[in-house]
Each structure stands twice: as C-alpha cells, then as structure tokens.
Symmetry: C2
Subunit: 227 residues, 2 copies
Amino acid sequence: MSAAPSAARPLPEATLRRLPLYLRALVEASGERLLMLSSEELAARAGVNAAQVRKDLSQLGSYGTRGVGYDTELLRQQINRQLGLNREHNVAVVGAGNLGQALGHYRGFSERGFNVVAAFDTDPAKFGGRLGSAVIYPLSDLARVVREKNITMALITTPAQVAQDIADRLVAAGVNSVLNFAPAVLNVAPHVSVRKVDLAVELQILGYYEHLRNDHTPAPTRAAAGS
Amino acid sequence: MSAAPSAARPLPEATLRRLPLYLRALVEASGERLLMLSSEELAARAGVNAAQVRKDLSQLGSYGTRGVGYDTELLRQQINRQLGLNREHNVAVVGAGNLGQALGHYRGFSERGFNVVAAFDTDPAKFGGRLGSAVIYPLSDLARVVREKNITMALITTPAQVAQDIADRLVAAGVNSVLNFAPAVLNVAPHVSVRKVDLAVELQILGYYEHLRNDHTPAPTRAAAGS
DNA sequence: CCATGTGAAAGCGTTCACAGCG
DNA sequence: CGCTGTGAACGCTTTCACATGG
C-alpha cells in the first residue's frame, strides 16, 4: 500500500506484544554492528517464527528491502515511533509494598522512558521516604501530585480490596492508563486503558504442566510463551 | 467415582489462563456464604463473558447443575485439583536483585502453594542473607541446593546476559519449570517448560494506546505531522 | 422452567507458500 | 537469485443460540 507513515494505525495486540521483542533483538544487533538483518535472523534472535516477523513488520509499513533484509537502524526507529517510545511517560506507583518497591526500582521501566516519579501508600511510616528517585506520598495527596507531576500512567500494587477505589481516584485525577497487579477486576470508564498482570498465573500454568507430566508423563512439547 | 476423574486432560492455554480468575471469584463467593453460583454471576466476578465461563468449565467435566448453577465449593475443589494446587511446589529465585527480592516476598506465591525455599546470587555480600524465609546462596551452590531442597521450579531474575547460563544450570540440576523475567530468549530441552514475563511489555502496550489517543484526538487543529 | 453444556458460526492469530521486486 | 510482503489455509478462541436435562 501507500507509504503514509501514520496511516492505518490500530496494530493487532498480538503484534504489539512482539514489537518489544524485535526492538531488543535490533538493539542487540546494532551493538554487533549489523546494519542489515533478515527476517530469519531477526526471528531467531526474538525467538519467534520468520513468517511471523514479516507479517508483524509489514503492519508498520514496508521498511524491508527485498532480497536483502531490514535496515537495523531504520527498523528500530520505526518501532520506537510506533510504540511511542520517544516520548517520556510519568508513572505513579500506588502501594509501596514489596512489589511496588521492586517495580519502582526496576530498570526496565526507566530504560524505556517510563519514569516512576511518585509513589503512594497509606503507611505514615513510609511518607517522605523514597522509592528509587520517587518520593512516597500519603494516598490523600494522590490527586494533587498526579496533576502537579503530570502523571499519566499508574501501577496498582495495593491489596485487592482497595484496588477499585484507587483506580477510581486515579482516573478522577486524570490518569488514563493503569497497570493492575492486584488480584481484582477493575471497572473503569471506556476511555481508560487497564491491563492486568497476575504474577502467580504464570507459575500456576507451569505447575499445571508439571502436574500433567507427573500424572501422565505424556511429555507435552511445550510451546511456551516467548521463550 | 466410577470413571477415572482425570480423563481427557490437556486443557487449552486460554482456559488455563482463566481458571485462576474463577478460583478467586469462587473463594470470594465462598466468603460470602454463597453455595451456588450461576455462570452469569461467576462471569461478572471474574470479568469475563458468561458463555466463556461455561465453555471453560465444561472442559473440566460436568460440575454444574442445569437450572441451578455451580456448587461453589465443589467447583473450587475441581479447579484446584486440575491446576495441581493441592501439591506444594518448591521454588528457587535466581538473582536476588530488586525484582528477585520482591518476588521472593510476594504473598501471592506462597498462598497458592509455591514456596520460595532458596535464592541465589553472585554478590558475596548477600550470601547467608534472607529473602523472605529463604536463604540466599552463592550461585555455585545451585546444583547442590536444588537437589537437597527438591526444587522443581525456578524464577530467573538475573541480568539478560547470564540468563541462558542460569537456565542451563537449573535444567542440569533437575529443574523442569522455569519462569523467566530476564529480557532474553531461553533455549532449553523440550521436556522443560519455560514461560517469559516481561513487565515492561505491558507498560509499552499502554503507552502505545496513549500515543494513539494523543495523535488521534478529534481536535479540529490539523497539527498531525506527515513525513 | 431455567441455566448448563455444546454444536455451529464468527473472529483472530499463526503458518504456509509463492508472487513480486530489488 | 534471495528475501520481503501477502493472500490463502489452518488452527485456536470467543461468541452465539439452542437442545438438554435437573
């Protein structure tokens, strides 16, 4: 089709989920001074199928050269642009418990432009403390701080019982992207994006397959996620 | 009873991924003294579609009563059994950095029978320290401790460069379920299950949608940058 | 009756296979 | 020629709609 850069935008979720994989592979290849990469090589580095790589990349536009491959640098830029990774995002962590603290310190976020600029908790002992470079505020300051620091995304790492209330308050304060680590179903207005991460789910799935192996030993060739 | 309860086992991944959701909803309902739940009610609590609930549950067998619903307690037991959650799993955390520490302390694991019984790191300052109830060992003790403590599952929370090596050593020591938090593609023998969790991916997806919203704003101002 | 359980239909995502182009 | 880009086939997941049975 035409080469309009920002034309038919809505990328399929499945593709979206793999773009970061390609990005990592491309950065790695860049570090090895590889200027061009074939879909085959890229696939190997990302741990997926070559046809899949081509399908995914074709969704962004035609950035490959037939008979040659993809320009490492160009492709990296295009994916970055599509994912909006040029932009910096100000992120809040609500719930400064174990998980909240770990996520607040997690390098993987800041490396990709997600800056944790504030944390919130209800424990007065934590107020004024720090979570990485972010100050821990009382929950009651949420609305004010969200606005002052231009926070657009939030991680919820509170107990499940309060997660919905937190979400409501975040949305009221103007946050429209929420990543929920609490084991609770959140209902929000349609203009807000919510995603859920349940760390225990993956372990449970692994447990299931182990269970299978022990009972049956049918040796299921796992086609695990990503790998 | 008569027929072997564990008959046509291999549950679809998509179903497997939702069973924990139902489990949570059922426990919650149990706490409210609800003896029976319809697929409709269960669906609402789990945040999914009612038809989906019925399809999923029918995979486990016929544990519902037509015209009535599902027996909360019975269903809970059946899901637990299917997921192998009666059994306890001994889990190792490799990499006692921020993420490793948070995961080691995470309640959600131990609550569901996943006990972190050992941690490993290369930093001598951490040796002998604790991560929750688990002792932190030098990486060189990995094989010995894995065998002594009957560890069957491991979380990899190391830097990406060493993740493959760690995986190899874990597998050699007898671990056959690995949950990888490092941003690296792991290659393992076919009898080993590997799953990957990339915490930044979810944030990136949220970022993408925010990016979309900002670009698309139906504002009359024609500021959209072409090429 | 009423809610489950399930064929059938619709929708997505992945893989295949090859046309098309550098 | 070699590799991309893509229509078409395939397989998995979700949704629909209703027959079935307590």
